[in-house]
Subunit: 187 residues, 2 copies
DNA sequence: AAGTATCTACCTAGTAGTAGGCAGGCATTC
DNA sequence: GAATGCCTGCCTACTACTAGGTAGATACTT
């Protein structure tokens, strides 16, 4: 039996990524985890606390994913390919989007510290992508790189947009289709 | 004085695009339009009816935008540039996203006919984009077009992702930054 | 005995939606 | 031409339900 706090974080992350911040409730989490609604407040006094904890957990987990990718692959092309695969597998069966995407819509309903955490996450991703495009340009494993920072911003938008496409169509292959062009540039 | 039904549609579209489907209520619309909450039900019996009407109105309006672009510009590059500008201006000050993006998150909370309308909208955009990339490839005003259909899918994801970036950062220039690479391909 | 985790039972505020009424416009009918 | 009846648009006042959150009791652990 995993501890309840972690179970709540997991459930909340899944709920947020499938239904958005305004789309899930403490009642949903309680039913999912198997405790009473009021008991959640013992672990997370307010929804804002839970939301921030979910965001921070997500950030740490994704940073670790990036580290693992860097450790497993040396070329820029291979690393970008692995990141695309990570985003793709995070999709589930086309029902989940990145936490940032899910929270972006509810931007005005979340607290400023969660918004700040979203900004931190995006910043981390942009830096990693910029470094990866720079490397891929240097080692020749990513074609036609002119400006690594511009590539990074476009790639992040593309990854997030592709998740939306997959979700809208309830079809994970829509993600692949949206990324086909970028993938074809990787050697 | 515009008629109340149209005022409601306008208010609902704005609310949906800034707060998402789960983020706005009849009370919000009532306060915005200046009638009582219950009176909205006179025009739209259920929220699902209103939502569908908003989506259909949006679809028609965007189709007209595409027609206007086609009438005003002949080259593929100029047309794509104009579409990017249309998406950019629809952003407002970085607080509004496309209806499809907003509803995508709440996919499981909206009715099937609204989901179908979202699919129709995306299909229309993909067809228009494919035709535009084909034209831009033929007349040489869009560089490096290999597969117009793949370009269309990537472009739509990029446009929607760029809107999310602008919204997350509350900064419309984030949209420009995400699209800089694609814009540089247009002659 | 103390602290942690959970419970039942409740609260306030807000959700979509309903019931029934009222004022005024526009016909038709006597 | 006045009376009748129907319609639109909006109202007040309500229902049933869900939201996040609280208080206090109870059980389990150490």
């Amino acid at each position: 039996m995993t501890d309840t706090k972690t179970a709540l974080l997991r459930s909340a992350e899944r709920a947020a990524r499938t239904k958005g911040f305004d789309g899930f409730s403490y009642a949903d989490l309680a039913a999912d985890v198997g405790i009473r609604k009021a008991s959640i407040h013992h672990h997370f006094p307010a929804k804002a606390d839970l939301t921030l904890a979910v965001m921070q957990r997500y950030h740490v987990a994704f940073a670790e994913t990036c580290d693992r990718i860097d450790a497993a692959h040396t070329t820029g092309g291979a690393r970008l390919h692995a990141l695309i695969a990570a985003y793709r597998s995070a999709l589930g069966n086309g029902e989940m989007v990145c936490l940032c995407v899910a929270f972006s819509i509810s931007r005005d309903h979340i607290t400023t510290d969660v918004r700040a955490a979203m900004g931190d996450f995006r910043q981390m991703m942009l830096e990693w992508l910029t470094a990866t495009f720079t490397r891929g340009n240097g080692d020749g494993t990513i074609a036609q790189v002119a400006d690594p920072a511009a590539e990074a911003r476009a790639a992040l938008a593309l990854l997030e947009g592709a998740q939306l496409a997959a979700r809208t169509q309830a079809d994970p292959t829509a993600f692949d289709a949206a990324l086909a062009l970028m993938s074809s540039r990787l050697g």
